[in-house]
């Protein structure tokens, strides 16, 4: 029963990304295999050096870095979306695997869900 949680909204402007992380962490906490897939503007969650104190929010960079420790199986990012947003190995946080967004990706999971 593996689950892919998809995040396609940019960070900080909307809450669905954070709530998607909570879903993935919650699955992991109950020993359910879960992976995260960032696509569209959502890939910006994976950028290094996010300093959100100035807008009164917590950075999610730490949460994401801790994902493997919490049992998240993989952090996947849409290769094309990363290119659009100028994200490469130098600017992405560690532990991200670039993949193509196609039907084959979905076939690797029993469930796929958005947080909103």
């Amino acid at each position: 029963m593996s689950t892919l949680i998809m995040i396609d909204q940019a960070p900080y402007g909307a809450w669905t990304g954070r709530e998607a992380l909570d879903m993935a962490f919650s699955l992991a906490a109950f020993d359910q295999p879960a992976s995260l897939f960032f696509t569209g503007a959502g890939v910006n969650w994976l950028r290094q050096n996010q300093e959100a104190g100035g807008i009164g929010q917590k950075s999610v960079e730490k949460n994401l870095s801790a994902a493997p420790i919490f049992g998240i199986e993989a952090i996947l990012a849409d290769r094309a979306a990363c290119e659009t947003y100028g994200l490469d190995e130098n600017s992405l946080i560690e532990g991200v695997t670039l993949v193509d967004a196609d039907a084959a990706l979905l076939n690797d999971y029993d469930h796929t869900a958005f947080a909103g």
């Binding site: 689950t3 709530e19 919650s26 109950f30 359910q32 869900a113 909103g116």
Partner: protein, 138 residues
Amino acid sequence: MAETASETFTLVITGAPYSSQAPQTALGFAQAAVTAGHRIDRVFLYGDGVHLASALSAPPSDETNWSEEWSRFLSEHSVPGVACIASALRRGLVNETEQKRYELPAANLRTPFEIAGLGEWVEGRIKSTRTLYFHAGD
């Protein structure tokens, strides 16, 4: 296996009433599922969807009160309606227990909705034949 009746569903609603069509579409689906002889294991409200559990919504009398409609459905069919506690506390949806814990001036959770953690969603996902999500559209 649509032909063998009595499959079970977990429905997740993430869009708020009067802001999205999510609660309406979910109710249409839930009613059809029950009519077909299936069971709704539970309805889980997440994100902005928790606003559906408000006891204080008072839309104009010529508009449907979606919170009321959903309450009635849940009660009639003994379906648990659960609002995610993290989503609910941030958005100001609390029952009497949370009201006391956080020393808030009132409670506004509509009967028969309950407040619980994401574990309820995880459990529903495992138990039910299908878990369907009703998000806000655009």
